[in-house]
């Protein structure tokens, strides 16, 4: 995601000598790590996300059932054997929830990140470079802004035979980046004439470098908000597309679980957990990101970073 590009690698801890190393251990990553750990909310968010990452990476360690196997009694309530019960198809709900993490996380994060990167590049470039470039990029942004998602996915799915994940992600990115680009453009416009950008230009920085290392860090918090927005949008839209049958219901994700639950009236027809669990997981993922957001106050704005109070020796 954008963060990695924004905080320059060039300036490692070695560059500035021992005093620096003593003060701010670990450079960029140190800053991020400290911000994450120093704020309880951000830490909670991190824990949630890491938890999901773990589930995504090693679902088998947590759930021992094959999530797709329709081998149990359908529509069971929670029990020792089935922590969350079974679906109307006789699948283990817990295993489904666990195994769905990978796909959901993948869609959410990759679509969110790609869309954010695109918005940043286009929005900030437009604002910073200005002139004809701005006009043309704005035009493109506007066009993408109104490109209708549904027909697009129908078309793409028809030509790619199957609305699998890459297609879904591509569509989400295509229809999702322009919104943020517009917002970032406006924000960047107000930065355009700042002296420190002029100074960077005079220093001889390339345009892309100014955009990525000078403008972006000052807009981190907006970008994070936009990333969060894009991610949530991706989760919700993907689930929505899957919900109306435009996705690929074969795959295992929280969105497709909702599709199945919904189509089987799980809420009313006796297995409410089938619908509630994926909904809760989506929300929990959103919560993780939202809480993580609190760390970025400090990452983007050094002046807000808390310092440990150490008495003078």
């Amino acid at each position: 995601m954008a963060m990695t590009t924004m905080l320059p690698q060039a300036q490692g801890p070695e560059t500035v000598g021992p005093a620096r190393a003593g003060r701010r251990r670990g450079g960029t990553w140190g800053v991020i790590a400290r911000s994450l750990l120093s704020n309880r909310k951000a830490t909670a968010g991190l824990v949630i996300l890491l938890g999901f990452c773990f589930l995504a990476a090693f679902p088998g360690l947590v759930a021992h059932d094959n999530p797709q196997a329709e081998v149990y009694l359908p529509g069971q309530g929670p029990s020792g054997a089935h922590l969350l019960g079974t679906t109307a198809y006789g699948q283990d709900l817990f295993a489904q929830v666990v195994y769905s993490t990978r796909e959901s996380l993948l869609i959410a994060v990759s679509a969110g990140a790609l869309a954010t990167v695109l918005s940043v590049v286009v929005g900030v470039t437009a604002a910073y470079v200005g002139g004809l470039v701005d006009d043309v990029l704005s035009l493109v942004t506007d066009i993408f802004l109104v490109i209708p998602a549904f027909p697009l996915i129908v078309v793409i799915a028809a030509y790619s035979k199957n609305a699998g994940d890459p297609v879904l992600i591509a569509v989400l990115v295509v229809v999702g980046w322009s919104y943020g680009a517009r917002q970032l453009r406006v924000q960047a416009l107000s930065l355009r004439n700042r002296d420190f950008l002029v100074a960077a230009r005079l220093r001889g920085e390339r345009t892309w470098r100014i955009i990525f290392s000078e403008i972006l860090p000052t807009m981190t918090s907006l970008i994070v908000a936009i990333f969060l927005g894009a991610t949530l949008y991706a989760i919700v839209t993907a689930a929505g597309l899957q919900f109306v049958g435009l996705g690929n219901p074969e795959t295992l994700s929280w969105g497709t679980m909702l599709y199945w639950a919904q189509n089987n009236e799980a809420l009313q027809a006796g297995s409410p957990l089938w619908a509630i669990m994926p909904g809760l997981c989506i929300a929990a993922l959103g919560a993780g990101f939202a809480l993580l957001n609190y760390a970025f106050d400090e990452i983007s704005n050094p002046a807000l970073r808390p310092v440990r109070r150490r008495r003078k020796p």
């Binding site: 500035v16 000598g17 005093a19 620096r20 002029v198 100074a199 005079l202 001889g204 860090p217 983007s300």
Partner: protein, 351 residues
């Protein structure tokens, strides 16, 4: 053109020269006015020369520096650096070359440092771009060297700081140190010492002179501190309301000012050791740079103003070799009367 060229030692071409440099701004809403920030400016800076640019606040000094640094594009006119018009610098290499030879120190140290980056980052970037010969280690020691030179100690601690952790004067010195780190030919320094206390200021001024003397660095030194201008500069340029009204060797201008504004300026220079001479509090009219029209722009405040001043914009005329002023009265030129330029100029102040 006339006077300016003559000021340059014949032996070498000027390091930098401008011809008819002009910059206008559109201000206001729909109706819109044109603000003449800089009008028809001709200046030269020779190699190994410190040129002080003084003048009224708002007279366009920063704009000149920004024009020279290629922040603004001139409305008209031309900037020639080492015989080449800077507008011909299109390729990145040329531009980068120019930028590393002619860095600029910003007037406002509070907004010219990126709040999201440490001082170390700022220094590192500049060095990386302009001192490719240095390795990582070399860059660090160079950064520390220039910070030390600018009086920021201990440099390693300063490198780790964010701009908001520095005082105004400290930030100002960071700006100056950055420019030095480029190994420049000409530093455009926009009030680089205005927020420094006198002792540090002297230190920096000494750095400037030694740069000139040892490394042949030229300097455009924009300042309000006439004393420090005198302390370091070889020549002085005086601006008023977008016009260059006088220029010449420092001592000559300071001791024999030609233009009424220069005189006013000098008369206002305080001497801390002396009592304040209570002159009439002359705020005068603020300079009119919004749609100014023809005529001398100082005429409303000028004790010597005549009819012609309202009709004809005076041109710079040499009074003595290398010392020129734009005034119908004190240096009447061909525009005002038929008198030959710079001949027998009376200096009313000298009487």
């Amino acid at each position: 053109m006339s006077g300016a060229d003559g000021a340059v030692p014949a032996t070498s071409g000027p390091l930098l020269a401008t011809r008819g440099l002009t910059r206008h701004f559109r201000i206001g809403g729909l109706r819109g006015h044109t603000l003449h920030a800089v009008d028809g400016l001709d200046l030269t800076i020779a190699e190994r020369e410190i040129v002080a640019l003084v003048g009224e606040s708002g007279s366009g000094k920063s704009t000149v520096a920004r024009l020279l640094a290629m922040v603004y594009r001139p409305t008209s006119g031309e900037i020639v650096f080492r015989g080449q018009s800077v507008s011909s610098f299109k390729r990145r290499r040329d531009l980068l070359g120019y930028r590393s030879q002619v860095p600029m120190v910003f007037q406002d140290p509070f907004s010219s440092l990126n709040p999201a980056h440490t001082i170390g980052y700022h220094m590192e970037r500049g060095l990386k771009l302009h001192r490719p010969e240095l390795d990582r280690e070399g860059r660090r020691s160079e950064a520390e060297r220039v910070l030390q030179l600018a009086g920021l100690v201990p440099p390693s601690a300063v490198l780790a700081k964010y701009p908001f952790e520095l005082s105004g004067g400290q930030r100002q010195r960071v700006g100056f140190a950055q420019a030095l780190s480029f190994k420049p030919k000409l530093v455009l320094a926009d009030e680089p010492v205005s927020m420094l206390d006198v002792s540090i200021r002297i230190g920096l001024l000494n750095v400037m002179t030694s740069l000139r003397d040892d490394q042949h660095v030229s300097l455009l030194y924009i300042t309000h501190d006439i004393a420090s201008a005198r302390y370091v500069s070889d020549r002085v340029l005086v601006m008023y309301a977008g016009h260059l009204v006088e220029h010449g060797p420092t001592d000559e201008v300071l001791h024999q000012p030609l233009h009424p504004y220069t005189r006013l300026l000098l008369s206002a220079v305080p001497d801390p050791r002396a009592e304040l001479k209570v002159t009439s509090s002359d705020l005068g009219e603020p300079p009119r740079v919004v749609g100014p029209g023809e005529g001398c722009r100082f005429r409303w405040r000028c004790p010597l103003a005549q009819d012609v001043c309202g009709r004809v914009t005076p041109r710079l005329q040499e009074a003595t070799p290398g010392h020129a002023a734009a005034c119908h009265v004190t240096v009447p030129g061909p525009a005002a009367g038929a008198a030959p330029a710079a001949q027998g100029a009376r200096l009313p102040g000298d009487a």
